[in-house]
């Protein structure tokens, strides 16, 4: 017997760490990984609420979030590779021009 709110607090903690990593990290791949961490935190909240209301739809929403995260990871990493080819750096402080 564990209060549902503990799961939600864990989810909030993971989300906050994700936001912090998004702000602090300077490497574009690490920033991308912190976005994945935030998505995972929200998924945990969805599953916890699905358990509380005995609804399947919460879990289906998590399924869709996973699919969109996979698509986003594929496109995002391709963009990172393209950026690295043209700039030779992954530091976001140096990637500040739309066009070279």
């Amino acid at each position: 017997m564990i209060p549902i709110s503990w799961y939600l607090v864990l989810s909030a903690a993971l989300f906050s760490i994700g936001v912090g990593a998004f702000l602090i990290k300077r490497n574009i791949i690490s920033i991308f990984m912190s976005i994945e961490l935030m998505l995972n935190a929200v998924n945990l909240a969805f599953v916890a609420f699905a358990h509380h209301w005995h609804q399947v739809s919460g879990q289906i929403f998590v399924f869709f979030v996973m699919v969109v995260a996979a698509a986003e990871a594929a496109v995002g990493l391709a963009i990172i590779i393209a950026v690295f080819r043209s700039r030779e750096t992954l530091n976001v402080d140096q990637i500040n021009l739309m066009k070279l």
Binding site: A12, A13, S16, I24
Partner: protein
């Protein structure tokens, strides 16, 4: 039993996430993110989401993180250096993040009584239950998602291709 499993894997989740935050080298961050995702799969199992637990391991810690590790090794990424921007982010970001966590945690903890508690096996969603809803009521979003994945594959190939 439930409490012990929850505490172990919630602790692993938090430790992995904090390690992701404090490691300088992206490959260490990626490996600690795999720890976070795998322990989240166990938490999904505790909440009765057996299909999602397996999908979490296969899709997230399998496919997505392999892609990340592959790109990190392909680009030969080194440890990141501290810049002026990261000092500003430390000063402004950490208090903001702590405030965010304090607000969210106080809201959730104040709702503890209304939300009730989770029992082991209290609500188990089998794969057949999930697929019945997915393929009957939500067939259109499912098909739209497959188009989205097709577009993502095409976009990834076009963006990562070498220009001649």
């Amino acid at each position: 039993m439930h409490l012990v499993l929850f505490l172990i894997f919630a602790g692993l989740c938090l430790a992995g996430a904090l390690n992701l935050l404090f490691q300088r080298h992206p490959i260490n961050s990626a490996l600690s993110l795999i720890v976070v995702m795998t322990s989240l799969a166990v938490l999904y199992l505790l909440l009765g989401a057996e299909f999602l637990a397996l999908a979490q391991i296969i899709v997230y810690s399998g496919a997505i993180m392999v892609l990340f590790v592959f790109v990190i090794m392909l680009l030969n990424v080194g440890a990141e250096e501290r810049t002026h921007g990261s000092r500003v982010a430390y000063l402004a970001g950490i208090p903001g993040v702590l405030a965010l966590f304090a607000i969210l945690a106080s809201i959730f903890l104040s709702l503890t009584k209304n939300l009730g508690s989770a029992q082991l096996g209290g609500f188990i969603v089998s794969t057949s239950d999930l697929s019945r809803v997915l393929f009957r009521d939500l067939l259109l979003p499912f098909e739209v998602t497959s188009v989205l994945i097709l577009v993502a594959i095409l976009g990834a190939v076009v963006l990562a291709r070498k220009e001649h």
